[in-house]
């Protein structure tokens, strides 16, 4: 009973979070969504740290910043994280204009949206773990 409830919970979370990923998960790789989420989680954390460092260095290397943000935006877009992706777009505009202050402000937005997303992903992964433990 508990197991079914958790499994249903996982399935419905997956459906609401990941339209496309849900379609791709199948019996041959039941952990696919979990793997992608974990990948994104680690990858995006790393990129955020890199961007943070780049923003703190003087003079700011806008080229490098743009490169990091391009990667970050790409990953976010690939898993369907719209709000994060939109904030990245805004950031890159400031970056192209070499507007340091704009970048710093915009990056706060990026981090905020990313933190919200991370929280949701954490809850998802936690639920997945719980569900597998009751199996």
């Amino acid at each position: 009973m508990d197991r079914n409830r958790l499994h249903n919970q996982v399935a419905s979370m997956r459906r609401s979070l990941f339209d496309q990923l849900e379609e791709l998960q199948d019996d041959t790789n039941p952990n696919f969504v979990q793997e992608v989420v974990t990948l994104f989680y680690n990858d995006s954390t790393r990129l955020i740290q890199n961007i943070e460092q780049a923003l703190n260095s003087r003079p700011i290397d806008f080229c490098k910043l743009d490169d990091y943000m391009h990667q970050f935006k790409g990953s976010s877009s690939s898993i369907g994280a719209k709000k994060v992706t939109n904030e990245c777009t805004a950031f890159r505009e400031y970056c192209n204009a070499e507007n340091a202050e704009g970048c710093i402000r915009s990056f706060q937005q990026v981090k905020q949206e990313h933190a919200i997303l991370k929280r949701k992903l954490e809850v998802y992964l936690q639920t997945v773990r719980q569900a597998s433990q009751t199996a």
Partner: protein
């Protein structure tokens, strides 16, 4: 929830899933008839995009090899063996590309390696997707269809440049299962070109399937044009996927070989 699309979209996705099953079954039938799986080489520097692409292709019953750079792709295809300056060459000059094709013809077909389609990201550090495309088209792998992907709206001059450089298609990431239907057409075409011992009947079957698929695609492209460039419209996944200006579509149309006849 930020990741949740509208419920309309979810319904659209389910409908598209039904649409995709038909060509998927045709692809699987094609593979069973030929007795092998299509092999796709995927080139992308993003680990997440590689994972997603690999999954997309495997779900569609293709064999997949993923590499993370243009250099690794060339290495895999056996195109780096006889070159002195391999990884640093960003764009091959015409003189070096001619020597490429002559010296690599033996090594490129190493151990009966078969690749039916190459999908590459456009924006990569080091060798870009365009550079890789040019290298491939100047090699003995030039007949393998190449699809270039990009994570963002690139200016039409860039996508046109890729198409003129020999790419079959320029696709917007993230790819969806519905995008794989287009790829199937290129794979069937490459099979037709490369296999000399295909039964005549099989050819006809594939041609029929192709024309059916092409008709579907023509309809889809028309709806793309109608919906235009509205990336905020969530009513139709196709418009979000393609996000082409009509200028793009106009210049792209003649290049998409499979569709040229239908249009």
């Amino acid at each position: 929830m930020e990741l949740m699309k509208s419920s309309d979209n979810i319904i659209q996705d389910r409908t598209q899933q039904q649409h995709k099953q038909e060509p998927e079954m045709q692809a699987q039938e094609g593979q069973q008839e030929q007795g092998h799986h299509f092999h796709v080489l995927a080139v992308d520097d993003s680990v997440i995009d590689r994972k997603l692409l690999e999954k997309l292709l495997k779900v569609s019953s293709y064999q997949v090899t993923c590499v993370d750079s243009g250099d690794k792709a060339l290495e895999y295809l056996g195109l780096l063996n006889n070159l002195d300056s391999d990884s640093t060459a960003s764009s091959s000059s015409s003189s070096s590309s001619s020597s490429n094709s002559s010296s690599c013809s033996q090594s490129s077909q190493r151990e009966g390696l078969k690749v039916n389609l190459i999908m590459t990201d456009f924006c990569m550090p080091g060798m870009s997707g365009y550079d890789l495309l040019k290298r491939l088209k100047g090699s003995s792998w030039k007949d393998v269809p190449v699809v270039v992907m990009s994570s963002e709206n690139v200016p039409s001059r860039i996508s046109i440049r890729c198409l003129e450089g020999g790419a079959e298609e320029f696709m917007l990431k993230p790819l969806q299962l519905s995008d794989l239907e287009k790829i199937e057409a290129y794979l069937l075409k490459s099979l037709h070109l490369s296999c000399t011992n295909i039964d005549k009947d099989d050819d006809d079957n594939n041609a029929d399937h192709n024309s059916d698929n092409n008709n579907d695609k023509v309809v889809n492209n028309d709806s793309n044009i109608d919906k235009g460039n509205n990336s905020t419209s969530m009513n139709n996944n196709f418009s979000k996927r393609k996000a082409l200006s009509s200028e793009d579509t106009e210049s792209r149309r003649p290049k998409i070989k499979g569709l040229a006849v239908a249009i």
